[in-house]
Symmetry: D3
Subunit: 243 residues, 6 copies
């Protein structure tokens, strides 16, 4: 499990939570980035995080059976699948996929308005836009989600109710891996299934490992030529002899 | 696990296979229908099978944690979710959903040409049509799949190769739960991931049970009023007093 | 015309209505099921009705030119087309298809909230989702539609107005064949075309019979092998000799 | 029935054909344009024809119950619906709509390659693109369709077979109202339903007239202000006083 | 630049505006129709304008490098591209295309409700429906847009705010070339980019001319046979000898 | 213009080419990355390049009017728009957008098979999938495109011909900014418009600058909080006091 942030602050609580969701026999390790953003709330944040994620993924591949990149935006998931042979799961993809089987349409709760189009794009690339009832924003920055828990719960219930009653959503997908504590509140107050995306990703990994499956190399996830990517910095084309 | 056919002929082999796919701690039982078709190869077949499926689902719900309806067409899955509170998985839905994470597009191998539009419709209802590269048919009836295994493997490899090279499919989904033995052949010969749909459905059940999730009652899967459906056969409207 | 319910209670009024919509030269007969649900309000209801529908369809095919299955959910329409060579029409398909030519978008009035996703799926399978402005629910059970006609009209006008003014619907499609009396009310009060789906299905049948057309056998509606479906109940695979 | 061409050459045969498709009680008149193109094979052709079509539609509306514009491109259908209160049918729209009920997918036979995207756009605007298997071109100009009937039949059979076997089409829609004679050939040789679009449009008109339906005025087909369109040619804005 | 109206009233102001948007080296001429509607607010209006537009386009092609048809509905753009070899731009197409690069979704401000489905169809044919947040109507006739400027601005701000806050639009596209003065108001009050479609079309022309590009003749825009379209009015088929 | 590679090898030829496409008054500068991959042929390549791209974009924003990121995959374009207020153009987006106006459908020529799904996803996110006829691969690595020019031209002509004749493409979009020399060959041999994407992006920039437009801050491109992204590496949450 790669926490794609440049702080170890949440490592402990995140790994404890995920271990509680793992089935017997599954061991979960966590690692965060040497440096990177505190949270991921847009493309600039992701851009800074992804090289570090990839490095952790490649290092971790040697002694793990699967990799979970712990952010709903699935930063670096495509690149990670190119890079390693073991399964790589992202909470965004896994959470939305799982939600489709629990009801006709689902809604995603985003942390901020600028992520509404991002989550909509994630659903479009997955092919699931027709199952997405709506994306609604709590307008609470990731790092503040836990600061005023009462307000966070309040905002989540308000938006989830709107999703259900106005947009016809039958399932709620939490749009950030820092929202796990909200699941129980929504389930109890609105009587709807709530998908916590980090746990969903963990289950997808367990599934792939159980079934001996990993991503295809026949197309999108072709193995890259790392020599061409990470060549020495003298700026010659690899293979060229420098005088 | 409900085998939606009116024969016990495949119960033994099917349950043995599925148990081999289950994780430690999962117990798999199988039941087939008191009467019903030998195989499901179209809407007429399904229509005859579904009432019996529903009966088994309702009886089985009392002492199981989840139900798997063992046919790629997912016969009765929507009705079963209406009927019971525990998770219900279908191989078609589960297999296609799982395939989306293993490559950019997948192809489905159907047993017969008339099922090509059916599988396409399944993908459309799921919302996954943009991820479906193609559906190709083996043109071998379900009951004959195992009779001439050499021919079946031959046909499957031919169609899978076409799916990959002509249609750009990166993953193969077996379009019938009687094709499990083909998975290994395709994987080895074409070096592509192959999703066996019954195992996929089993994994989805394990996932939901692990996560304490079940289908939403807020929309599509509303609980029906069985008194209104299965009323006594005197043909009075329920509640009416007949003289 | 097959009334897919296990009661003869509405046979008289339904056939009278449909005869009033038929053109000169068209004769309409009605038959309901020996046993089945009182109304169809979900997949469990349909599942119980379809075998009886198919039986009536197959029996009626001998001496009729076309079959109308009298429920907006089109239960058994695909199976019926597989089973018989004469045209089979469903009110859902016919009503939505007809509506597309009367305005840019149409709305469907459903009887209950759980049918909203069902009607949406019907439109998606038809390929017409982009023409569907919205589906709105009266939240009145089928059997109660006629009990308090004032309330039913009130609810229908409220939802139809919402469809027009909020969702931009230009045409209303009644989402239940028990709503025929609403057509006039909406037309008069809201000045919009209203498609009554049973009459629409009748017209489609008249059209196909006039043009000598029936469904294709080249794909989805391939003729099934009834021997394989409805085999004797000793649970042997057909062709096997039982001792 | 408006023949949207500037010649009376085909009036006789066209009206004879359509009368043979009409049901008892339906009277069919035909009128062509005072001047206009010989055939319609692109947007320039249509542009020249539409003002004449509209004139005939408006004149004909007084003493007819419905209007059929006899070209698969549906030239002027939207404008005609704006202009008059009686139903207006187009062969393209009617033919494609009708085809959806006869099989899972249909193919359109076009006269020329440049009309392939046009027919595809027609299907897209109708919302039916997902039901359209393919559009194939005979590459025979409209006026030549009947000149070498053997070649036309040959080309049509070749393309229809391709549509069925390569593209999975289950129904053929003739993409020009001058192809009526092909229907029988394809039906007999390929055993597929063939929709002749002029007859389809006639049936749609009969349907609407039977049901007392006409297009909605609530949106797309709003009645225009003809005073603003067809104002006197001194080029003043209407209402202005010219000295 | 063709002003597709039968009045010269706006020629002066329109050409002045467009010259202000042109880059150094671009010369803009304007011509309106000999006769035609005052404004274009539906298909009937367009139908009357298009033959005159085509005539101006064909005459103007000789001594210009590109043609701009100055109406958001893009009347005659397809026909014009068939007719001439130089680039032809329409404000609707250009404006929507340009908007996609300025934000995730855009909204179109229409002059009247009946144009909402028209603009939606324009987006659908372009393939951009998934980027279109909404179309909202000012309900002010084109000729009145400038009469009560205060009311027009008020209506535009109200609808643009709704588009942004309710529909999530990030960019506003003015849905009429008579709305240019609104751009500044919306930009300033709502801090969103506003695309003025006539200027957008001009820029597309400049782009194509710079790049030496013009429309493809390989499909939709095939060159028509004008002899077959505009043949002498004796109503003989061209080539026939009249006695 | 940012060349998103870690070599200056192509800076000279690229800037010379782009200057030849610029209109009078436009000045083009080029900068490449301090370190980064030689070419971009997948997500891993992009991931390594994007932080360097962003750095160059932010530095360049001070004294330029617009930024062009010179790779068809549009690496970092979304992030760059978040980061700076001046327009940012990507060749992929610009090229595909421009192609839609030159014909009904376009095809993209990719360098390698694994980029086919990437370009398809780019089109899907743009909303243009319905305009994309196909993506075909030359199977020639970027760095080899110019090594054997004869083979490259041969491969391009073969694929472009296939796109036109088999897939109905009317326009070709070059899927790599290193293919500029191919444009003339295809145009001359196949008589189709060819969009060179770097020039297309340049023209989009000129357009936005002319019109005073830049991307919306209302949604997807919200300005990020760089303090939170690029905080000092002690791994404390910003604002926290470390002892």
């Amino acid at each position: 499990m790669v926490n794609p942030v440049g702080t170890t602050e949440w490592d402990e609580s995140d790994v404890t939570y995920l271990r509680s969701q793992a089935r017997a026999g599954t061991t979960v390790d966590i690692v965060s980035l040497d440096h990177g953003p505190v949270s991921l709330e847009g493309a600039c944040y992701e851009s800074e995080a992804i090289p570090g994620i990839l490095q952790q993924v490649r290092e971790g591949a040697a002694d793990h059976d699967g990799i979970l990149i712990n952010c709903f935006l699935d930063p670096g998931v495509v690149a990670a699948r190119e890079a390693v042979d073991i399964p790589v799961a992202g909470p965004g993809e896994s959470g939305m996929i799982l939600a489709t089987m629990l009801g006709h349409t689902f809604a995603v709760l985003a942390v901020a308005k600028n992520l509404i189009p991002r989550h909509r794009e994630q659903a479009r690339v997955l092919g699931l836009e027709s199952r997405l009832a709506s994306v609604l924003s709590l307008e609470i920055p990731v790092v503040a989600l836990l600061e005023e828990p009462g307000q966070t719960v309040e905002a989540a219930l308000t938006q989830a109710r709107l999703a259900r009653d106005r947009d016809g959503a039958e399932v709620i997908v939490l749009g950030c891996t820092g929202m796990a504590t909200l699941a129980q509140w929504i389930k109890e107050n609105l009587d709807m299934p709530v998908v916590e995306p980090a746990a969903a990703a963990l289950k997808m990994l367990e599934t792939w490992i159980d079934l001996g499956l990993t991503h295809s190399r026949a197309g999108l996830y072709r193995r890259p030529d790392f020599a061409a990517i990470l060549w020495p910095q003298g700026n010659q084309v690899p293979g060229e002899v420098s005088p």
